[in-house]
């Protein structure tokens, strides 16, 4: 079974040390973020059980949390996940067209992953970038003021990175 590296285990212990003794459950959300990053971008039941054992809590306590928060993926996703905001302020600035454009360009619907496993398209609710709309989250960062040309460039950039990283 997959396990954290020594470095990640150190990080987990450092997070647990932030809380009073016995309150290590507070580390659950941060540790799930690390787990998702480490184990392929999503949380399998196995991964969640591992996190439960690390924090000495019941697996159900982990499942409860993992299913509540929208940033945790409970099934595999593509290498690059386009999370496009569709809430009011982004809609006022054309997010609907951007979503349509990505759907057509990648040939997938919202929630799907391309056959080559490279791209997943998701819609999300307001990410706090309303003044820089339309926008999406890609990995750790935001891509703002989106246009069709920018989407083309982002897709090319991802494809290029995927090749060099392999």
């Amino acid at each position: 079974m997959a396990q954290f590296s020594a470095e990640k285990l150190n990080k987990v212990n450092e997070i647990i040390a932030r809380y009073p003794t016995g309150k290590q459950k507070s580390a659950l959300i941060p540790v799930l973020h690390i787990a998702q990053e480490e184990f392929g971008g999503w949380l399998s039941a196995e991964t969640m059980d591992y996190v439960a054992s690390l924090l000495k809590i019941e697996p159900i306590e982990v499942y409860e949390v993992a299913t509540f928060y929208s940033m945790y993926n409970l099934k595999p996703v593509g290498k690059y996940v386009f999370e496009v905001c569709q809430t009011g302020p982004c809609m006022l600035n054309g997010s609907d067209e951007i979503i349509e454009y990505i759907k057509n360009k990648l040939g997938i619907k919202v929630g799907e992953t391309t056959a080559d496993g490279l791209f997943t398209l998701k819609t999300v609710e307001c990410l706090g970038a309303c003044g820089y709309a339309p926008m999406m989250q890609l990995g750790k960062h935001y891509r703002e003021h989106l246009t069709k040309e920018k989407i083309d460039a982002i897709i090319t950039e991802c494809e290029r990175n995927a090749v060099t990283n392999n």
Binding site: E61, F68, Y69, M71, T87, G88, P89, C130, A133
Partner: protein, 454 residues
């Protein structure tokens, strides 16, 4: 030019780093508080300033601090609310991204006042890169003796930690935030007990917004009394407004609460007018939860007075003809926008974000989304509009936390002020698929005094 207290230095090159921040006068408020004042004196200063919570509810910060229970031998906690998820709101992000040390400085002073030795910043999970910026600033502050044990020889110990959320608007509600910080689902708690008595790990806790905490720095630097002189009435100090939608210059602005809404929208210093030479149709001035107003009621109150950008004036007229300052998320709709469609996106947002504990909120938000979808996509009935009205009334006031109200208000206000646009959708479903209702009679009574410059 309005006075700037928070963002004055935000664009000094290198201000994100400790050295530049310190050279520009940073951390003076910590020196003043820890070396010359008692914790109660700091709280007193904040009380005098009249500072109101900037997270949305506008509750006086100093008063909140003085309610904190202080039983012997029990730790107390300060938690900074950086969850910022209300559509239209992106001011805290701006502050943290550009001038992170201002927040760290404010947190040290506030932690001292409240006796919090372990202080947390709870930040929305999507702001992942800002976590790095904040952790860097905290590490620098610690290396320079502003955090850790016995800070400045005062005997006060303090550590600040950043905790990331994972995508849930409800975790901005303070008791849901506390649950989340404890490693649970973000289900709001029933109050009382209030966090001031029983909060994080059942200990007395104060939850304050990022901007509220940052404002403590200028309050200590210039004194509470001086701070209270800025602004008008009970709207003291400066307020960050994040402006978005169909305007020429979207962004974050610091205002001193003495300017009019008209000036804010049309002057070059702020929004720079409506984009593409269009006219103003409507605006949600305080984040998605507050009532939408048509242009005429936005610029002038029902009494015909100019509406000002402050707490009192924005709420003038109650919900019948007014709105709220809320979180300062200022969303502008131009003449081409459809109020039904915009309201639908907000209804979808609240349905998505309801934690599901109370049936009026869980079921009601779903119903509202569904009915609005029908109306928007040409499948609505006339009775649907009354049904929508009925549902929102049944949610409001009948839930554990205010998310239910926050979901009900935008729908109520849209129907109250734009009923004929809803009726038009129902009556002409085909036309409504092909074009928007337009400006109709919602327009600002032209000519506007501060007309946009060509």
């Amino acid at each position: 030019m309005g006075r700037k207290l928070l963002l004055e230095k935000a664009h000094v090159p290198g201000i994100r780093s400790y050295d530049v921040y310190r050279r520009e006068g940073g951390y003076r408020s910590v020196e003043k508080a820890l070396k010359t004042m008692s914790p109660d004196q700091v709280t007193e200063e904040v009380k005098k300033s009249g500072l109101r919570g900037r997270g949305g509810a506008g509750f006086p910060a100093g008063m909140k601090w003085s309610f904190l229970a202080k039983p012997e031998g029990v730790p107390r906690y300060l938690v900074c609310n950086a969850d910022e998820s209300e559509p239209g709101t992106f001011k805290d992000r701006y502050l943290m991204e550009f001038i992170p040390h201002l927040l760290v400085e404010g947190l040290i002073v506030a932690s001292y006042a409240l006796g919090s030795n372990r202080t947390f910043i709870y930040i929305r999970g999507e702001y992942a890169w800002i976590v790095d910026i904040l952790e860097q600033a905290i590490a620098e502050a610690k290396n320079n003796g502003w955090l850790g044990k016995n800070i400045l020889g005062s005997g006060f110990d303090c550590e600040i930690y950043v905790q990331r959320g994972a995508g849930a608007y409800i975790c901005g509600e303070e008791t849901a935030l506390i649950e989340s910080l404890e490693g649970k689902r973000g289900n709001p708690r029933i109050k009382p007990p209030f966090p001031a008595v029983k909060g994080l790990w059942d200990c007395p806790t104060v939850v304050n917004n990022v901007e509220t905490i940052a404002a403590v720095v200028p309050i200590l630097n210039i004194t509470g009394e001086e701070y209270a002189k800025i602004g008008v009435g009970k709207s003291t100090g400066t307020k960050l407004i994040s402006a978005c939608g169909n305007i020429n210059k979207p962004g974050v602005f610091e205002i001193d609460m003495t300017i009019s809404v008209e000036e804010f929208i049309y002057s070059e210093e702020y929004c720079g007018g409506i984009a593409n030479g269009k006219r103003l149709k409507a605006c949600i001035p305080g984040g998605s939860s507050v009532p939408i107003l048509p242009a005429n009621l936005l610029l002038k109150t029902a009494k015909g007075e100019a509406r000002m950008m402050n707490y009192e004036s924005l709420s003038d007229g109650g919900f019948a003809t007014g709105t709220m300052m809320g979180s300062g998320g200022f969303i502008v709709l131009d003449e081409d926008q459809c109020v039904v469609r915009h309201t639908l996106t907000l209804a979808r947002f609240y349905r998505h974000e309801s934690c599901g504990q109370c049936s009026p909120c869980r079921e009601g938000t779903g119903w509202m989304e569904k009915i609005l979808k029908n109306i928007e996509y040409g499948k609505g009935k006339k009775s649907d509009i009354d049904l929508l009205w009925d549902i929102q009334r049944k949610i409001e006031g009948n839930t554990i936390c205010p998310l239910g109200d926050a979901a009900a208000w935008p729908v109520a206000a849209a129907i109250r002020h734009f009923r004929d646009e809803f009726e038009w959708h129902v009556q002409y479903p085909n036309a409504a698929q092909n074009r928007n209702y337009g400006l109709a009679h919602y327009a600002d009574p032209l000519p506007v005094a501060a007309a946009p410059k060509a």
